[in-house]
Symmetry: C2
Subunit: 299 residues, 2 copies
């Protein structure tokens, strides 16, 4: 089986991880933690979300966090932005990259942001345009691609349509998300084959959740199709909002364990990732990654 020699890992723990944890981590701890992550070799950190504080109170300190971290020039610091107001806040603190999000499921999008997919397009169009005018790269998250908690299977044509629209807005890269962690490798293969008919693989990242244990198998399939861009969260931080206590985001340390052993380079030091997992574990409940379980049980 052929695999890429090198892949890029995007650390989404400070945003996608923390937003799914019940506890509020103090801003100073987030700053300290992101500073640790910045020294692991990870090239990309999504540091927070500039959504309305009522939506995700865990991330209401986005401005404070972005202002106080020590930026490593080798790292891209990104933030999630839902609308123009959020973009203004993100630009005020000069994040490097802007992330948009849209669900490929009508019901999930509605529940998530109280808008139809169609009505979300103009909002994202405006944000994307303004972000590009401000010289920022723009990344789009397409969620529930492999299944929706409300609608079940999502037709691949709906996914393609959402991706086309986002790319047409000037979005530079799309992160294809298994939001509820239901995907299997054969489905990953089928989805990628269809997406490759429309979009260059270099513009696609995969965002897997490990809710049903399949995330690394899905990564393996994506690697065999030449995908070189993956999202993950240190320690598997952030559970599954639809099954509390179950695994959520693919853990950066589990992903690194597999890639390191396979000889796929990431430039990231797994020991430093483990150290940053141990740090944030002081604030959140048990981390779900397999590496953390082995470490916590043997030390």
């Amino acid at each position: 089986m052929n695999f890429p020699k090198q892949v890029k890992i995007n650390e989404v723990g400070p945003r996608d991880g923390l937003q799914n944890e019940a506890v509020m981590v103090p801003a100073e701890a987030k700053v300290e933690w992101i500073n640790m992550l910045s020294e692991t070799g990870v090239p990309y950190i999504e540091l927070s979300s500039f959504v309305h504080p009522d939506w995700i109170p865990q991330l209401k300190d986005a401005t404070e966090v972005a202002r106080h971290i020590k930026r490593n020039p080798a790292v891209t610091y990104a933030a999630l932005v839902p609308n123009r107001k959020g973009l203004e806040r993100a630009l005020e603190v000069d994040v490097d990259e802007i992330c948009l999000f849209l669900s490929s499921s009508e019901t999930h999008n509605k529940k998530n942001i109280n808008k139809s997919i169609k009505d979300t397009y103009p909002v994202l169009q405006e944000v994307s345009q303004d972000a590009k005018s401000a010289g920022k790269k723009v990344r789009g998250y397409v969620s529930t691609v492999f299944g929706c908690p409300y609608e079940g299977d999502i037709p691949i044509d709906n996914v393609i349509s959402v991706c086309e629209r986002l790319f047409s807005m000037g979005v530079d890269e799309l992160s294809i998300g298994d939001t509820i962690g239901v995907a299997d490798p054969a489905q990953v293969e089928n989805v990628l084959i269809r997406l490759f008919d429309y979009f260059p693989k270099e513009k696609l990242a995969m965002h897997f959740h490990n809710t049903r244990g399949t995330a690394l198998a899905n990564v393996l399939m994506a690697l065999s199709y030449g995908i070189t861009n993956f999202d993950s969260s240190v320690g598997g931080l952030g559970g599954c909002p639809y099954a509390k206590g179950a695994s959520g985001n693919l853990a950066t340390d589990d992903l690194l364990y597999m890639l390191d052993r396979m000889g796929v380079r990431t430039g990231i030091d797994i020991d430093k990732i483990i150290q940053s997992s141990l740090y944030i574990e002081q604030y959140v409940s048990n981390l779900s990654s397999h590496q953390m379980k082995v470490i916590n049980r043997t030390r």
Copy 2:
């Protein structure tokens, strides 16, 4: 990627699962549980181990369990046997298949059964011969193939040598074990390519542990090489003896989740497997499978 249309799953929970749980499950509960497993469609159940009760007290009731289960003619009931005395006990209760075990690591074998690999061969030779004379199929477990807790990496030539010796004794099938759950898919590929130089793939099963989260990715790699025989344990029963609290055996329900969605047939009803996991969970602590975590957190 090409996969087999159908695979065989061997349920090892009653043996490999329970022997790694701290609690003693009453014999009547084991009987009830194995009877449930017998109706799931699983074709093979390793029901216990006829080792000396001092070695593994959790399985000291092997005879009682084997006597009282209701045998489904569609199921092969196997038992682990370390020596002639164990074989006698297993034959007394007429199990269908005999399982031998041997480590590919000298140190692990010594710690496990207090004998060198070389000194273990005559013991296994005798058991294998007598089992065959009694009309039984014989299965061999080769452990620590992908890494040993004491020796680290095991040279593949040592593994091949152990496998050759076991086949030469008349063993019908070998289960290639990642005993401590360290394997990655590239290693699985490398090991299989070497083993296929010597042995037909139809005689090889894979026995993965999910300690570092890679078991399903390893299964995916093995499937792509045409392996159609996998060991697993319902609910992920049985932790890792080298890291208490960490995952051990690949969970049958996690394996089934992936295979079912990929369209690979097993003949097993996942809902019945979940029911049998919920049954045994009354006696042991939290099961580690991802499916069980989703179920326990959503019900």
